[in-house]
Amino acid sequence: MLNMQTVGETMIVSLDRDLDMVEAKNFKDTVDTFLLLNPQIKILQIDLADVSFIDSSGLGAIIGRYKNISLRQGSLVITNASDNVRRILEMAGLKKLLETKKAKKEVL
């Protein structure tokens, strides 16, 4: 299931299902409701460690949340994407949202 955690201004959403039209909608609804109720959130971190599949519905949901968080001058970062998922995100032009290896080390 979709798991949420907040640390200060950061909201971490961990997904663990195929990010297709069903999970994309679930993700979108949950995050949008939470963001609406929590105006202090400025960073949306999407953890894809347990996601092995994404299609264009999943991409649409991520880009939509990116637009929403940008509207409040916030940012979005995608962490721990598998090779397959990373490849699709890059094909869709979302490379800039993927955490770099360096950033990951700094966090740890």
């Binding site: 297709d20 599949f53 299609d55 264009s56 519905s57 991409l59 090779d83």
Partner: protein, 148 residues
């Protein structure tokens, strides 16, 4: 590998996009495909089935989508068939980023086209849409064997 044919008909609900991917995965289990090749095939199927459910039927659960999986001479053919609203302008629909819905990427046909060897779309307004896609599975295996 043995030739095979499976015809799957299911209600037009989002949950069945995963159902169709599962059937595809198990049909391909005997092929030593790379993870990325399998992923590409699953995405292409996912896109076509999602389109039938979302655009063809507006997620009307009483409607049915059919997927025909054919493996013949190591060529996979996927036919995704709906009797939904149909597509007015197929050429326009297939253009990258074209979508008739907000917050949709317009990447479905782009993925189907780039991940399959061939893609054919036939559609009649008010009668439905058929998406026919093929990919050679043998060339993937040879490619893998070379890579190892």
């Amino acid at each position: 590998m043995k030739d095979n044919y499976v015809k799957l008909t299911f209600a037009a609900i989002g949950e069945n996009v995963a159902t169709s991917r599962m059937v595809l995965s198990s049909l391909l289990a005997g092929y030593d495909l790379s993870l990325s090749a399998l992923d590409e095939l699953k995405i292409a199927l996912s896109e076509a089935v999602s389109n039938s459910i979302i655009h063809g039927y507006g997620e009307d659960a009483s409607q049915m989508v059919t997927v025909e999986f054919t493996i013949a001479d190591d060529i996979l053919t996927l036919a995704v068939i709906d009797q939904g609203v149909g597509i007015a302008d197929i050429k326009q629909a297939m253009e990258p980023t074209f979508s008739t819905r907000p917050e949709h990427m317009g990447l479905g046909f782009v993925f189907m086209d780039s991940f399959m060897d061939s893609l054919e779309v036939t559609s009649t307004l008010g009668h439905g849409t058929t998406v026919l896609m093929k990919r050679n599975l043998k060339s993937e295996q040879l490619f893998n064997a070379d890579a190892v």
